[in-house]
Amino acid sequence: MSTEGVIYRVAGPVVTAKGISPKMYDVVHVGTEKLMGEVIKIVGDYSIIQVYENTSGIKPGEPVSNTGLPLVVELGPGLLTSVYDGIQRPLPVLRDKMGDYIFRGVTAPGLDRKKKWDFTPVVKKGDEVEAGQVLGTVMEGTMLHKIMVPISIKKGKIDSISAGMFTVEDTIAEIDGVKVMMMQKWPVRVPRPVSEKYQPDVPLITGLRVLDTMFPLAKGGAAAIPGAFGTGKTVTQQSLAKYSDAQIVVYIGCGERGNEMTEVLTEFPELVDPKTGQSLMNRTVLIANTSNMPVAAREASVYTGMTIAEYFRDMGYDVALMADSTSRWAEAMREISSRLEEMPGEEGYPAYLSGRLSEFYERACRAKSLCGEDGSISVIGAVSPPGGDLSEPVTQNTLRIVRVFWALDTKLRERRHFPTINWLTSYTMYNKQLEGWYKKNVAEDFPQLKSWAMQVLQKESELQEIVQMVGSDSLPDEQKITLEVAKMIREIYLQQNAYHPVDCYCPIARQYVMMKLIKKYSDLAEKALKAGISVEKIAYVPVRQRFNQAKYEENIDSELEAVGKDMDTQFAALGV
């Protein structure tokens, strides 16, 4: 089998070569500058290659060589805190090598080859080990990085294993004569195996009231955030990355804005992880393939990110994977498909769009890994529907797979209601599975309070229709109070300022207290109304002003307590 060939044709990122006889998805080097590419189609003697770098000036006749291997990522110590492009080239290293712009033909390994790590074995010579079992550990910042038996070794006996300082390429152990190093390679398009998948029943706590209370995502589940531009997809994704209770965050900036990635890159290192007190970056892997970087690398970026997420799941961690935006990924598929002159499906997207999306989201799961630990990957995919039209193919195909839908709304954005998650159109299908957790860990009546709040909001939207027609004056008093309570739920509870130091994160216990206070107001108002007090007086009790401001106060918890007391005294003063 020949591995050397020549270029036959160049058309944008798609290059046709002849002479190599590759397998599908083999990685090849194209041209004298050895640009990296991947074989995506084989027609007779011709191989069609998608090239991850700019192909300007590349000529027919230049050499092509086949590595014989599929696109892989390097897994091992050094992943955390890294910033990669779509094919796992570290961006800081690229900048050192070629300056402020990304030119082509530069390679850089995903893991630092020189750095030494302190390896501590947990098994000893003579032990029987299996694929995925933990051999030993390395402290990577504050995270315990577990070194596992490569999946390629099914079973074996340890001939030797040693503690000490090693690089990722040094031999740390020998299993049945096979040398094992800390670094493993894994093809990005193949899911890593687990021993058993579970039904998710623990919520991913995010500190965002509207999500944790109203539309929770289970650990190991998948959520979609579709929204027209400017509705705050990225802000929501970033809030989740910052505050969710996942132990590892993989953030994929797929075809998005450069300045936005810069914001992530500058902000994350400065942010403090509320649980460890360390920089958030210590538990994060960032993948940045901005919109003007090569489109084929954009296509690969989501797989690169997912494989890294799976590696950490296999150690028994809860991983949150954010993909911003899956629409750009789909567009990359469309662009490449159209260069291949494939028969298009809906709106020019390839017919395999739906299949690729499901394959990707199916890699989200809560599972027992091969080493016996429970881990999970929760996927939060942003979708950018053109013109905000949710009937377009990417959104529709995504909604068929994911079980949580956070609908972002332009109207709410215009009112500066943030996060712009529409409480009427969003949904979660994990309510039942998670109810037990909420009852046990928050309060027995939490699910009940939540459905009460949803009912009030639902009622409000019905009443609003009437108000639009005849004005609010003509409503009966109880309904006016319902509107006031709904307004409190919206303004105090649902609205949350992601940039405010106190309000940006609301622990679930506090969420319960706030909701309980709103319920308390509602109950008192109802009583007051029965006692013949006017709606005006009920609506303008001074405590509401204090309640509105409470979430921005440093001493928020004692402030909320005071709000509760004020409520009692002020309503008592009204004569309740």
Binding site: R9, P60, Y101, G258, T290, N292, G348, R413
Partner: protein, 460 residues
């Protein structure tokens, strides 16, 4: 150009279609290589390779294929398209293909740069954080522009987007700093009249001496229109990151650019995406817009104000839609406001600046800026809703508080939105006007503003 070998001429054109010429039996030709075509009358046309294989090379001709026959000879230049750049370009007027239009001499290059540019490494980017004062309240106060941002104006036919662009070009400054400032003005497919207006205005205000103007007019070939912004942005990059200048790039009209893209795509018989625009339009536009920004450890910056007219006033049309996904916000113009005689007719509710928060506040604009703008957004939105209600039930049936909101919406349009074409408001002016109209509301209606600012700025 020194190392370019004398290359062969081919007389093997097999097919000519639209802007494309197909050449057979060539030696290997590079993708995106530049091409000269000599016509039988001796005149020259330029082009670029779109698709290169051993058997056939597809060339896209910039000036259109009129006059080309199969006897024309084709010469491949062995290099991709370059832009000669130099500091002396300031004050020059160039064609859409980079040739002097002002009767001046050819540009003597200090450097020749590839016009496609390369992507800035996200790791090398610096976060935009410096406030640019445009003197327009709806932008400075409500949708703040910062250095390194790309903030388009979404307009439509018949609206005064050109006046606004010129006003920004004239008034834009960074407070308290005295740095070299340059404007790169890229016109794509504008009419001759528009060109006259821009040039007169540039000369009237003396802005031309700090500007480089690229003019691709409506009757220039469509393919050239695809090259024009790349020439302009390459020049801007040179000025910003080689010379350390603060560059403002104004591009008008992106819609014409996209039409050219569609035209060329159709000629290439590509599979079209939405509404016939090519499937790669997002990537293509990103390659223009993403050239805005700041780079760590470099003095200069590129700020872009692309202008696009929304066909049929439709913001969901692919051009504004894809742009909105790449740019950091948008300034949307409103036909309604324009009809009621308000200049600049900025529709504040649907406008947005994503980088606003990083450019405002204490030390940048003023401590109360964010709170004031949030409050005005919310109150204006409520006031506008009430207008609909008043049309049905009349003003009398509103509560006193609602009536105040209703009046606020009118005041907002009259005092904040409306201003003169030559009125250059400082950010202080804008915020003071804001407090002046906010005081018409009850204090408990100011629920977005911290009490300390209310005490500090609200004068009853």
């Amino acid at each position: 150009m020194a190392n370019v070998k004398v290359s062969k001429e081919y007389k093997t054109i097999s097919q000519i279609a639209g802007p494309l010429v197909f050449v057979k039996k060539t030696d290997p030709v590079g993708y995106q290589e530049m091409v000269n075509v000599r016509l039988s009358d001796g005149s020259m046309k330029r082009g670029q390779v779109l698709d290169s294989s051993e058997d056939l090379v597809v060339v896209q001709i910039f000036e259109g294929t009129t006059g080309i026959d199969r006897a024309a000879s084709v010469r491949f230049l062995g290099e991709t398209m370059k832009m000669p750049v130099s500091k002396d370009m300031l004050g020059r007027v160039l064609s859409g293909a980079g040739e002097p239009l002002d009767g001046g001499s050819k540009i003597i290059p200090e450097k020749e740069l590839d016009i496609e540019g390369a992507a800035i490494n996200p790791w090398a980017r610096d976060s935009p954080a410096d406030f640019i004062q445009t003197g327009i309240s709806t932008i400075d106060g409500m949708n703040t522009l910062v250095r390194g941002q790309k903030l388009p104006i979404f307009s439509a036919s018949g609206l005064p987007h050109n006046e606004i662009a010129l006003q920004i070009a004239r008034q834009a400054k960074v407070i308290g700093e005295n740095e070299e400032f340059a404007v790169v003005f890229i016109a794509m497919g504008i009419t001759n009249e528009e060109k006259q207006m821009f040039m007169t205005e540039f000369e009237r205000t003396g802005a031309l001496k700090n500007a480089v103007v690229f003019l691709n007019l409506a009757d220039d070939p469509a393919v050239e229109r695809i090259v024009t912004p790349r020439l302009g942005l390459t020049t801007a990059e040179y000025m910003a990151f080689d010379l350390g200048m603060q560059v403002l790039v104004i591009m008008t009209d992106v819609t014409n650019y996209c039409e050219a893209l569609r035209q060329v795509g159709a000629a290439r018989e590509e599979v079209p995406g939405r509404r016939g625009y090519p499937g790669y339009m997002y990537t293509d536009l990103a390659q223009l817009y993403e050239r805005a920004g700041k780079i760590k450890d470099k003095k200069g910056s590129i700020t872009q104000i692309p202008i696009l007219s929304m066909p049929g006033d439709d913001i969901t049309h692919p051009i504004p839609d894809l742009s909105g996904y790449i740019t950091e916000g948008q300034i949307v113009l409103s036909r309604e406001l324009h009809r009621s005689g308000i200049y600049p007719p900025v529709n504040v509710s649907s406008s947005l600046s994503r980088l606003m928060n990083s450019g405002i506040g204490k030390g940048k604009t003023r401590d109360d800026h964010k709170a004031v703008s949030d409050q005005m957004y919310a109150a204006y939105a409520e006031g506008k809703d009430l207008r609909g209600l008043v049309a049905i039930v009349g003003k009398d049936s509103l509560s006193a508080k609602d009536r105040k909101l209703l009046d606020f919406a009118d005041l907002f349009e009259d005092r904040i939105v409306r201003q003169g074409v030559d009125e250059d408001r400082t950010i202080e002016d804008t915020l003071n006007i804001a407090w002046d109209i906010l005081k018409e509301l009850d204090v408990d209606q100011l629920n977005r503003i911290d009490r300390k600012y209310i005490e500090k700025y609200l004068k009853k």
